[in-house]
């Protein structure tokens, strides 16, 4: 008899650890940082009590955590690590080694505002500051989506040999207890077969990689990475579809939409605030405003074509950024959107607000009021 899915109550951080366990990872290097710590604690406990047959490597900092991840991945292991905020920034150099080395590491970044001054709570400056490291980036808006996306990320990363960052908000998701559906392990194994790298570091067959390259070779590697990141879009869609066929669960593919078809005013945001924005859309609809929601799940590569296709004619798009685009007014999502639309959708108006920095609470009424105020501008 086929096993049934199980529904439990769980936090976003623990849901991430359960997904990593079901992905049957081989190696988990880790260094704790609030609010990511709960993921590492759970994985360390799972390794300790034998639930997860993996090597847990405690290290002295995030730079080493990613260095260990790079080395283990090059040796052919399925590797996971996680971090937040300044931990992610400390990894910056090694993030490039993972992407340039074409190593399919999957990492959770639990979004948190950046020092200085210190903050513990969510904004998106940390992940957006790593936009140009050659990593694919998902941004998730629910505990279930975190679980589902980690499994999809392993699959896409290993198909295209590019590391993937799965982002979700600190506390609002990581420490939020919600129902979580766990598909049977046999279904997950069917969706995510064991990692079989095309090449690996192997002492029995000595070789070296990531050596010095001359300009023409270097440029070729860089061009391949740039092309392949764009080529991930159909794989992201295929992974979402096949995950849905097997588990029945759907969070969107490159984007997720709500009441968008006839919308004249479109809210655009990522992560947990985009979940609450559904309720803001309902409030605006009750007030007679034809509002809708467009939530990019994928931020790198930016799903430009899907957004161009799906935006209703003459819509005003209200981009709510939880980050700053220093040197420009507003935030980074708005800049990405404008870049995507320029010359393609001149009927669209883009307006922008930076909100929720350092974890400022974003209740549905506040965001609905802000969108109404933006309409007047």
């Amino acid at each position: 008899m086929k096993a049934a899915a199980q529904v439990i109550m769980d936090t976003g951080a623990h849901a991430a650890a359960l997904a990593v366990k079901s992905a049957r990872v081989d190696v988990v290097p880790g260094y704790p940082i609030t609010p990511q710590t709960a993921i590492m604690e759970a994985l360390a406990a799972m390794v300790e009590n034998g639930e997860l047959h993996a090597r847990f490597i405690p290290v002295e900092g995030e730079h080493s955590a990613m260095a260990a991840a790079v080395a283990a991945s090059a040796a052919g292991a399925r590797v996971f690590t996680a971090t937040s905020a300044n931990g992610l920034l400390y990894m910056h150099e090694v993030l490039h080694m993972a992407s340039g080395g074409r190593l399919p590491v999957v990492m959770c970044n639990v979004n948190r505002g950046i020092f200085a001054p210190w903050t513990l709570w969510a904004d998106h400056q940390d992940s957006f500051a790593q936009r140009d490291t050659g990593w694919i980036q998902y941004h998730c808006s629910s505990n279930q989506e975190v679980f589902n996306t980690i499994l999809q990320a392993f699959r896409v990363a290993e198909q295209i040999n590019i590391p993937i960052m799965v982002n979700f908000d600190g506390f609002a998701i990581s420490h939020c207890l919600m129902p979580l559906t766990l598909p049977p392990q046999e279904d997950i194994d069917r969706f995510l077969p064991p990692f079989e790298p095309e090449w690996r570091l192997d002492p029995a067959h000595p070789s070296s990689f990531s050596n010095v390259t001359m300009a023409a070779e270097y440029a070729t590697f860089r061009q391949m990475l740039a092309d392949d990141i764009l080529a991930a879009i159909p794989l992201v869609k295929q992974a979402a579809r096949e995950y849905q066929e097997i588990t029945g669960m759907w969070d969107g593919d490159t984007i997720d939409t709500y009441r968008l078809e006839d919308a004249e005013v479109v809210a655009l945001a990522v992560n947990s605030m985009a979940a609450e924005l559904r309720l803001s859309v309902d409030i605006l609809r009750q007030q007679g405003i034809k509002a809708g929601l467009l939530r990019p799940r994928l931020v790198v590569p930016f799903p430009s074509e899907d957004i161009i296709q799906v935006l209703p004619r003459n819509a005003q798009v209200m981009v709510l950024d939880r980050n700053y685009n220093y040197g420009h007014p507003g935030g980074i999502l708005a800049q990405e959107l404008k870049g995507a639309l320029f010359g393609r959708r001149n009927d669209i108006t883009v307006k922008n607000r930076v909100m929720g920095i350092g974890g400022i609470d974003l209740p549905r009424r506040l965001m609905a009021d802000e969108i109404r105020a933006m309409m007047e501008e």
Binding site: C176, A275, P363
Partner: protein, 180 residues
């Protein structure tokens, strides 16, 4: 969607109370959410947690701005808790040794501390008032007693849960609506 906020002091067990309520919602066939607000944790500092229950998916992730219910874990916090926001028809549930009422809001009172002490639910830091409060809040929310009890049994199976079960059931029966 039902929204509830817990206001308490660090060390009173507000996170566990929020988790129990969200788990009771699931046990009751609904969706539940517990969203504690984590600050710079210190024993004795004011803390809060949001709880939501709904027959359909919960999308909200903010702290409850205008909750339908406010649970005040210590009488001293009543005024501060109300000033943080409550729906105009919102209900207040207060842990207090005697009858108290909040103006303009239906108020329920339970002596969670006495019930916890009587049940021997005491740690070095004081009584576990969150357990009786869980029973009392379930009663006020009209969550059936057997659902409340099953939630405790699931969390603390066997002998360990018996004192918790007794205290929560006592509070379920003794929480009263105050008419001043």
């Amino acid at each position: 969607m039902l929204e509830l906020r817990i206001n308490g002091f660090g060390g009173q067990g507000s996170v566990t109370l929020a988790h129990l309520l969200a788990q009771a919602a699931l046990e009751n066939g609904e969706q539940g959410q517990a969203l504690p607000f984590f600050g710079v944790e210190r024993r004795g500092a004011p803390v809060r947690a949001a709880v939501r229950m709904s027959p359909t998916n919960i999308y909200a992730h903010s702290q409850c701005e205008l909750p339908d219910y406010v649970v005040v874990m210590s009488e001293k916090l009543t005024e501060a808790a109300i000033s943080e926001g409550i729906h105009e028809t919102g209900t207040v549930i207060i842990n207090a040794p005697q009858a108290v009422a909040v103006k303009k809001h239906p108020t329920w009172q339970v002596d969670a501390e006495a019930i916890a002490r009587e049940a021997g639910l005491i740690s070095a830091d004081g009584p576990f008032i969150n357990i009786p409060l869980f029973g009392a809040v379930c009663r006020v929310l009209n969550i059936p007693q057997h659902i409340m009890e099953q939630t405790i049994v699931n969390k603390w199976p066997g002998h360990n849960g018996e004192r918790n079960l007794g205290a929560a059931s006592k509070a379920y029966k003794s929480v009263i609506q105050i008419n001043l």
